[in-house]
Symmetry: C3
Subunit: 129 residues, 3 copies
């Protein structure tokens, strides 16, 4: 199990991490199989996404509207609650297929880390299954 | 890693793919373990669901309301953005347990592909872990 | 593949199951690797979450608002539909990393079962990959 670090640059951001994972796969012994990713955080998420120009900002706008603006209890900072909820709803892990030391994805499909409370260094556990 | 194709029939649809996966498992050497599924697409999703009659349409109605109707940037077709977002939120992969070459599911639990932009042929990578 | 049972106490509840999984891992041969969890149900979900005091109730409040209140078709009990939808959106499985027979999680990260229709005994399939 290796830890890789993704440096996010903005408060909210969809970061394309596809090439980061491919770089990891190039160094592995196995040519094909499954790769596991896990974010050690509660205010970011991992998923796959279309990243046509502007779609990253579209997603963030939509998430902003989806999260209800309620009187939250969370003691640390009640305005964080929406970020925690999006992280729990989208999820913090991925399993992806690879062949020839490269991710197997759809034509428009990218692997993304969604930052809900950056900028930050995000630690991801990664391993080949 | 094998690719199976699911032919969806409608623009939006919840397709029960449980038996498709069981057919794949029947042909495998291993009797029990875990099976991995991954959709090579950005406008469909994979998950488990209750499929009591009408619940598929209930889910689609709910998703339609959940996605905010904003002025999206996506250059290709801004009306697609909601479909991409639901795919990213629900997720495009599954890991499921199987025993005796059959999926182990709850009484009411089915494996579904949620089509957000059909009808289409959807390609799923599938492999036993 | 082992089945563990989580007894939920309330109608809606976020249950911290981190220690339940660690107890399972302590009894395994492997010291490190990945652990798979799968809920055999359609009205609960598995994910990771921040559990600062009150955040569990914040999450449940937010989910209540996110689910549209529509005229659902579901024959059994239309008021259940929202619970099924949250289960399908959040997901019913997890893969988590472990080292030294303990889950590897972020500082604030816990493993949770979200109960949408309790109190109930919830069966989870669990196995080391």
């Amino acid at each position: 199990m290796v830890t890789i670090t993704i440096e996010t640059k903005k408060h909210k951001e969809v970061v394309d991490i596809t090439e980061e994972i491919n770089k990891f796969l190039e160094k592995q012994e196995k040519d094909s199989g499954l790769v596991f990713l896990f974010a050690l955080h509660t205010t970011c998420a991992l998923t796959t996404a279309d990243l046509d120009p502007g779609t990253d900002l579209d997603m963030l706008d939509a998430f902003e509207v989806i999260i209800p603006k309620l009187k939250y209890r969370h003691p640390h900072d009640p305005s964080h609650v929406g970020n925690h909820i999006m992280s729990s709803m989208i999820g913090t892990f991925l399993i992806l297929p690879f062949e020839n030391k490269n991710l197997v994805l759809g034509t428009w499909q990218r692997v993304v880390l969604i930052e809900f409370d950056g900028p930050r260094n995000r630690s991801l556990k990664i391993s080949v299954i």
